[in-house]
Symmetry: C2
Subunit: 252 residues, 2 copies
């Protein structure tokens, strides 16, 4: 068989799976859906589905995200305005999983995408999922499980990779702002870092650092007192893709 012979290719199914992360109540949470049919019926799984003919991979991920959560995603550059009543979310490709036996029925290659979203109302169940929930990732990692039951397929592994990507990427990019509303305070951003890394940060050093890193934050002019205490300045993301100097994770 020649290298690119189109008439003799082995048959594969291609799916996308989504690691959708948000910060809720000071904890990093992942979106799970309950499978309504075999295999793994009744198990919790990552949202996802088949890539359609003629549809790009990121496009498929974006579509599945909208179907299951109503979220509108923007890929890395060029933040599309979100439609009214919906919120924007960061979307990027994570990795591809293609172990021959990862699906018991047939050969499935799944391209996983990572989505970072601000805190949202409880997800709506969409598609074939018979339920959806946010679960704190600390409960899902380790022996990956929900109430003692692991996630379907290799989704525990995919989730772990997604969480690790998010934890490392907020070090050297302004991606942590994707977990915040369009306007946010330094304190809110700090609580995002604390939740994602699972650490406690010094508010004074954090403030000096983020406001002193070029391109990280843009003052929007307003102030808010929604956290109580002295009113805090509001910022929007400066959109810098790479932070210099980077934010450093403690205890390393």
């Amino acid at each position: 068989m020649s290298r690119y012979d189109p008439s003799a290719f082995p048959p594969f199914a291609v799916t996308v799976d989504l690691v959708v992360l948000t910060v809720r109540e000071h904890a990093l949470c992942a979106l799970l859906v309950r499978r309504g049919e075999p295999p793994y019926q009744g198990y919790w799984a990552l949202p996802g589905g088949f890539v359609r003919p003629g549809e790009g991979l990121a496009e498929a991920a974006s579509r599945e995200l909208a179907e299951e959560t109503g979220l509108r995603a923007y890929s890395a550059p060029g933040h599309d305005a979100a439609a009214p009543g919906t919120a924007g979310a960061h979307l990027e490709q994570l990795a591809t999983y293609g172990h021959p036996q990862r699906d018991p029925r047939m050969r499935v290659v799944s391209v996983a995408y990572l989505v970072l979203a601000p805190d949202l109302p409880t997800p709506r169940a969409g598609g074939d999922a018979s339920g959806a929930r946010w679960a704190p990732v600390t409960e899902l990692l380790g022996p990956n499980q929900v109430d003692g039951v692991p996630l379907a397929f290799d989704h525990g592994l995919i989730l772990a990779d997604g969480v690790e990507r998010a934890r490392s990427k907020i070090e050297y990019s302004s991606l942590a702002t994707a977990f915040c509303s369009p306007e946010f305070t330094v304190g809110e951003l700090r609580r995002v870092y604390e939740a994602v890394w699972g650490v406690v940060l010094d508010p004074r050093n954090f403030h000096r650092k983020v406001t002193g890193t070029p391109g990280f934050l843009l003052p929007s002019g307003g102030t808010t007192t929604r956290q109580g205490g002295r009113p805090a300045q509001l910022f929007t993301s400066g959109g810098a893709n790479v932070l210099n100097p980077p934010m450093l994770r403690p205890e390393s």
Copy 2:
């Protein structure tokens, strides 16, 4: 159609493409093969090929690498001993490319892998390739081309992503040692950084930095004078996956 209905999936072909990088004569070079058949007949392309039924993705990448170069690859953890007469190479997944029209004949999703190898004898042409060569990446990037002709398919984009991954990953990992022979000197390692980043580094500060970073280098005891001048200590890779503090790319 339900989310994972195995009887109604759209047909995809799945391939692997390889971005194989090495440092030759103080330049970062990529391995290209010449296509022997349409489409893009006569164009230079990345090595690659179909994933076989029952074969994992990394396994397919490893097989294609061996077929086209004789290189034996090791995935990130657990460096397998290379077979006699062959050299080991680092292999990791890069990204997946699935634009619906990326192959003019049919729907092909390609999982790209990044391979970092020490300098080697000129590659042997294998498989259907009617030729193979190392090309400096500085000539291939920008308006991606070889002698004014772009690479086949979207391989220019894949190559650019692979080079960027290599450039950023040697900052915070000991991966640069994958470009060196098993035993190497600090000067040889510095020339790797200079070639990959396209910069000139201060030999004195570089020496202080790499020898002072825990887990980066292990003294092997021997010395060599293969560079001329005062004999240099030989080191092996310390295997640290994450460098702390990281190597910093100048001019940022």
